[in-house]
Amino acid sequence: MPFDALNDVSDEALLVAYGNGDAEAARALTLRLTPKVLGFAARMLGGDRAEAEDVAQEAMLRLWRQAPSWRQGEAKVTTWLYRVVANLCTDRLRKASGVALDAVPEPEDDRPSAAEGLQQAARAAALDRALADLPERQRQAVVLRHIEGLSNPEIAAVMDIGVEAVESLTARGKRALAKALAGRREELGYDDG
């Protein structure tokens, strides 16, 4: 099948095609899903690029292994992947800290940034630091809702909780972020004074 002809094919159809031995389908899925997986992993791991890449590769490998026994219509491929990534990140954060998840240390303020000086990069970096201080479930819900753009029912499926619980987690997460970042208004470009 020509490569660009796969653009309109659903993730699930591509996965089933791969499960039947179609390597071209795997290439299309890789280009489509790896950015999502990597982005989510990076936000969950406090911006650690190398760790996020390892998680992304591992999550995709699990997807390939799942393909032959994928049950159509049971779950969205992205929902399944986000859940795998969340679990992998949780495991890594536990191993890294050796303590409770909520005690993730705050990254140093002066860590180097390739895009230093750019307002967007400064805002994203400040958000990463504030996200790292959130309890893990709040962080997961906020990232999936407001950065990855998932709907509340989708997040509920990823996190295996009810929609109301998702709403509660995102609301509390946003309040905590708004409070934590209040002192950084100047570096964020939000200083009206």
Partner: protein
Amino acid sequence: MAERPDLTDTELDGLFQAARDTAPMPSADLIARVIADAEAELEPGVEPAAPRPGILAAVLATIGGWPAAAGLATAAVAGLMIGIATPDTLQDLSGGYFAAAGYQLEDLLPSYGDLLGEG
């Protein structure tokens, strides 16, 4: 330091937008590794389950493995060589041996001469 007001929803949305704009893009190396994993999983050889034995393996197991197969091959080649070389060489060998004792091969195997005659 004076107490600063919490960020508004609009301001927070600006941060989320910044995060989306600066989302890490996968490197070419990562993409290559993921595709390589996918292709490796398609290879039958990487299945964690034990490979199903083929026909050759089944035959070998029946006769006793590769050593038995080697012995069988040796015997087959030897038989072929004897078949090609006979009867003159066999006649010479056996004839020479038995001639020293005063016998011809026909004395020991009377039908041997008839067999040659028919050939």
